[in-house]
């Protein structure tokens, strides 16, 4: 199975739960690089290109009982959402003394480095190591297609327990 088909299988599995939501910009047209099946389009929350807003919406959806999956087409852009990820998503359980535990699955894509289309430094950075120091939830780097379905299944299990997961994908592997 290819990297892309495994991602599609993982999204298909997440979409079985009607509470699932795919959050991000360009999803209604691009379906996250074609990894969200068209049949799951009703689960898409289309947003403007505003990463902090996207993530905040996901946190709010989680507070309301939904299961959001946020798609960042480049890991570089996640920095715009760092405030919401670090100061809210990762911190809410502690600062609320367990009363609130919003949880999201964060899909972060590292741009091409070894094959076209090349997009330059600010579209190919991998901040996995940095985020491991910033948050207390798992940051999972998906280097092998065989780990994708199980990694997203584990992320959903964590989410149902009120824990987030950041998963790092690579366009070079698509």
């Amino acid at each position: 199975m290819s990297y892309k088909s495994e991602l599609t299988a993982a999204m298909t599995a997440l979409g079985v739960d009607p509470l699932n939501r795919f959050v991000g910009y360009g999803l209604a047209r691009g379906l996250a690089g074609g990894t969200i099946p068209k049949e799951l389009a009703p689960q898409i929350t289309e947003t403007p290109v505003a990463e902090n807003l996207m993530t905040g919406i996901a946190v709010g959806q989680s507070l309301a009982g939904l299961l959001p999956v946020v798609y960042f087409e480049r890991f570089d852009f996640v920095l715009n959402a760092a405030d919401c990820i670090v100061n809210h998503l990762a911190a809410a359980r502690a600062i609320s003394r367990g009363q609130y535990a919003p949880a999201a699955i964060l899909r972060c894509v590292v741009g091409n480095r070894t094959k076209p289309l090349f997009t330059g430094r600010t579209h190919t950075q991998n901040f996995s190591a940095a985020f491991r120091k910033l948050v207390d939830f798992p940051v999972v780097v998906l280097l092998d297609s065989s780990q994708i379905v199980s990694a997203y299944a584990a992320a959903r299990d964590h989410q149902l327990r009120g824990e987030s997961t950041m998963l790092v994908e690579f366009k070079d592997l698509l």
């Binding site: 905040g56 709010g60 959806q61 003394r97 009363q99």
Partner: protein, 214 residues
């Protein structure tokens, strides 16, 4: 839904001030004051099923949402003045500037999509109004006609700096209808209880109580 009056709110905060002055609260506190009448009026419309997102200055919001005084005071006494939460009463706070605005949008969006009779109220200061996070949230909420109200509690102060000083004009921005603004003169400074510098000696037992609770 609230039984609080302007007088009872002010009395509560004066009690916190007294404990602070006594050295019993060795924490950063942001006391409310000067906006009692406005808040009592706003909270007349807020129902138990509605969400309230508050900020660093949360004491009045918490009391008016129905949190018992004893619980709010206990939270303050353990150093959680900026971290008062109540899941059952749908009360959420953040002391990160404008941090709740986009989160509140997510709750409102979920309520609208589900067809629930729920409204969301997000309180912020005029300092947070300056933030891009607020701008993103307001545009999204207005465009989607979400069941949300952002309330700017405008005390003309971003910590200690006036609107005119930080923007070069006292003129306020015109936001969409989902944004309400009221202006007031605050009773207390941004942080602390407005006591003379060096006049508060924090008690050792209070310091140990906090350190041992961490």
């Amino acid at each position: 839904m609230t039984t609080h009056t302007a007088e009872s709110l002010a009395a509560f905060e004066q009690g916190i001030k007294a404990r602070f002055a006594d050295g019993d609260l060795p924490f950063l506190v942001h006391l409310s004051g000067g906006n009692e009448n406005e808040l009592v009026e706003i909270f007349r419309d807020i129902r138990p099923q509605d969400w309230v997102f508050s900020n660093h200055r949360s004491h009045y919001h918490a009391l008016l949402k129905g949190l018992p005084e004893v619980d709010v005071e206990a939270a303050i006494a353990r150093g959680d003045s900026m971290f008062i939460f109540d899941r059952e009463r749908r009360f959420y706070t953040s002391s990160i500037l404008a941090g709740t605005c986009c989160i509140a949008c997510g709750v409102a969006l979920a309520a609208k999509e589900a067809g629930d009779d729920i409204a969301v109220y997000c309180f912020l200061g005029d300092g947070a109004e300056d933030s891009g996070h607020f701008y993103e949230a307001v545009r999204f909420a207005a465009a989607r006609d979400l069941p949300i109200r952002f309330i700017i509690e405008d005390n003309d102060r971003q910590v200690d700096t006036s609107h005119d000083e930080r923007w070069g004009t006292a003129e306020r921005w015109n936001w969409p209808k989902c944004v309400l603004r009221y202006r007031y003169a605050p009773t207390f400074p941004h942080g602390g209880a407005g006591l003379p510098p060096g006049s508060v000696q924090f008690r050792q037992d209070a310091i140990e109580r906090f350190v041992n609770s961490q």
